[in-house]
Each structure stands twice: as structure tokens, then as C-alpha cells.
Symmetry: C6
Subunit: 78 residues, 6 copies
């Protein structure tokens, strides 16, 4: 692995404390919230989490831990 490359996980670490969108595999559903922590498996701890069904706001979920393997994408809320 090229030693100068910043790994994907580091990109996610850099998003701690900011708002992120987590897209779930095989579901028309996303979670949006503040990233509290993330580990090497991309398990995610978020708070102030809301559900997005398509692009519409769904339930408020508060604190959730999401299992990394079921996550499709993680991206910053712009």
C-alpha cells in the first residue's frame, strides 16, 4: 500500500463531530446525524439522528449505533 495514502477510514475519522449522511444497503433510507465515533469496521455511533426516506424527513431516532457491514456509503452533509 503506498505509504503516503490516507486511508478511507481516516476520511471518516475526520468527520467526527460533524453531520454525516449514512446510506443503508438495499434500503431507500438514510440516517443523518452527528458522528460521535467510528471504528475500523466502520461501525458508527451517531446522535441527533434523523431518518430520511428517499429525500423526506422521517422519524427522529436520537442515539444509534449502526453496524458497519450494512452501511453502503458515508458522506459529509454539505
Amino acid at each position: 500500500m503506498p505509504t503516503s495514502m490516507v486511508l478511507p477510514i481516516k476520511k471518516v475519522f475526520a468527520l467526527v463531530d460533524s453531520r454525516i449522511t449514512v446510506e443503508i444497503k438495499d434500503e431507500d433510507r438514510k440516517f443523518q446525524g452527528r458522528l460521535i465515533s467510528v471504528d475500523e469496521y466502520l461501525n458508527i455511533h451517531m446522535d441527533e439522528t434523523i431518518e430520511l426516506i428517499g429525500d423526506e424527513r422521517g422519524r427522529s431516532l436520537g442515539t444509534v449505533v449502526i453496524r458497519g457491514n450494512n452501511i453502503l456509503t458515508i458522506s459529509p452533509v454539505i
Copy 2:
């Protein structure tokens, strides 16, 4: 990994002995019960478990062990 960050798994450890909701991937079904133990794979041992179909109460399941990779989210029952 920032050394000061509390990992997602630690958030779940902190929920041992309290009631949690476990949302299953790809199913309109949740498990709600008391968290007995959890390991690094997010395998969960719960008791007093009930099934929720959508938001309606389903069967009482008692003691179950849930395989971590099939879990979408874990959250505290508020």
C-alpha cells in the same frame, strides 16, 4: 484513530442491563429486550425479548442470541 474517541462498541457496552431496540437488516421487524451481553462483533445476548412488527408488539421470545452482522442498528429504549 484519535485516542480520545470512545468507540461505538463502548456505547453498546454502556447499555448492558438496560432495555435496547435492535433493528434487523432488511426486515420490518425489531427486537426489544434487556441487553445481557455484547461482544466485539456486536453479537447480542438479550432476555425478556419481544418482537416488534413495524410498531406493533409481536411474540415474546425470551432469551435470544442475535448474530451481529445481521443487525442494522442498536439504540436505547427511551
Copy 3:
């Protein structure tokens, strides 16, 4: 991890030689049988296995090894 916590896998070890129900992910099907052995991945070796379709008895399967990642839940037959 709190050192006093008994891990989920230990709960399953405690079920060796007794009858268990194994619920499969994404299928309306369960396996019921006597637990012969289990490993850290929750791979399961059962014998005297029968299939349950919903709650109706299906085929007798005898000896089967079930891949852990496709298991949703393991629970004791009460």
C-alpha cells in the same frame, strides 16, 4: 469490555446438547435440533434437525452444519 460480562457466545456454548431453534436471515424458515457444537463464528453443528416453515413442521434434515453469518438468532427450545 467489562471483564465480568459473560459473552453471547458463552450463552450458546451453554446450550450444547440441548435443543435449539436457529432462525435464518431473510427466510420464513427455522431449524430446530440438538446442538452438537458451535465455534466463535457461531457456525453450528446440529443433529436431529427439522425444518420449521413459519410454525409448521417441514422436512427432517438430520445432521447439518449451518454457516454462522446466515443465522439471525439462536434460542433455547423451551
Copy 4:
């Protein structure tokens, strides 16, 4: 782990050179053939493999390697 327990994988090792049925997750399809080798992930190398669609014989596949995580069950052909 109880030291006297024979692990699930050992049950599969014991089937090398005999005919097995491999049930695939989420598919109404099985593979039946002679087990050549298996590893710790339950990856399977079979030859003289035939496909079973439900209980009807399908195509002859000859030599195949099957990825362990997509296997639901492995059992001896009786």
C-alpha cells in the same frame, strides 16, 4: 470453549471424499457433489457437482469452488 467439543468445521472435514449437499442462502438451489476440500471459512471445493433446483436435477457443473459466506448449510448425502 469446552475443550472436549469437536468444532463444526471438523464435522465438515470428516465429509471430505464423500458426497455432500450444499444449500445456498436465499436461493431455491443446492449443489450436490463430492467434497474435495474445505477451509476455515467453509469455502468448498467440490467435483462431480450437480445443481438441484428445488428437488429436481439441474445442470452438471463439474468442478466448482463455492465461497463460504454464501453457503447456508452443508450436510452429508445419505
Copy 5:
């Protein structure tokens, strides 16, 4: 493993800084963008990412991290 073989992951490392297409498992959707980094699990960090629905251009997604296990294929944009 033959020592002279260049591993699949190395092929992906060689695509860093160039445009790639990432095909998602079970979805009629692809991501196309510039590969920023990749790790041993094939987790991908891309920017200038666009979605392709079938072969039509969908939304612009900017920066995304994609969980490796949900990726079916990675290929260079020719």
C-alpha cells in the same frame, strides 16, 4: 500463493487518482468518480462522485466513502 502474483488489491491501488466505476451489489446503480484511497477491505474513498442509474447520469455526490463488502466490482473508466 505464487509469490510472483500481483494481488487484486494492488490493481486497485494502481487506480488511485484516476476515475473508476464502482458497481454496487444488488443495485442497478453505480458510482463513478476519482479514487482517492482504498484499503485492504476494498473500502473506497472517492470524490467528484456521480451516480449512474443503469447507464444514465444521476445525482452528483461529491465525496463519499463506500463500504467494501457492498461493492461488486471496481474497474477503470476507459
Copy 6:
């Protein structure tokens, strides 16, 4: 593990430089091409790849890297 057993992965290593068929989990789609390299996760690097939809030839894909966990079977083209 019986020490004399040749592991499944070795069977795949032996196919490097020859044409293989890769069957994808849950899809009526296969990839056929020349195997360039494979690693312990069964990640595959192929070139001269074509898609097969059922048994009909689909698109030419050229060079692709396929994530191992989404592969159902690997077999030699006879």
C-alpha cells in the same frame, strides 16, 4: 485440518492465466474472463471479461476487480 488436503483457494490459484466463470450471488449474471490474480478472500482480478446474462453474452467489461464476498462460485471454463 488434514495436512494433506489442498485448500479450495489453491484450486483457484491453479486457474491463474486460464479462463474462469464467476457466478455472482443473487444475480442471474456471470462474469467470464481470464484470471489475473486472486487473494485469500477470493477477491478476483480478471481481464478480457464479458458478462453473461443467463447464458447469453452481454457487455464486454475488460478489466475488473470483483469483491470476493459477493462471489458464489468460481469454476474453470471447459
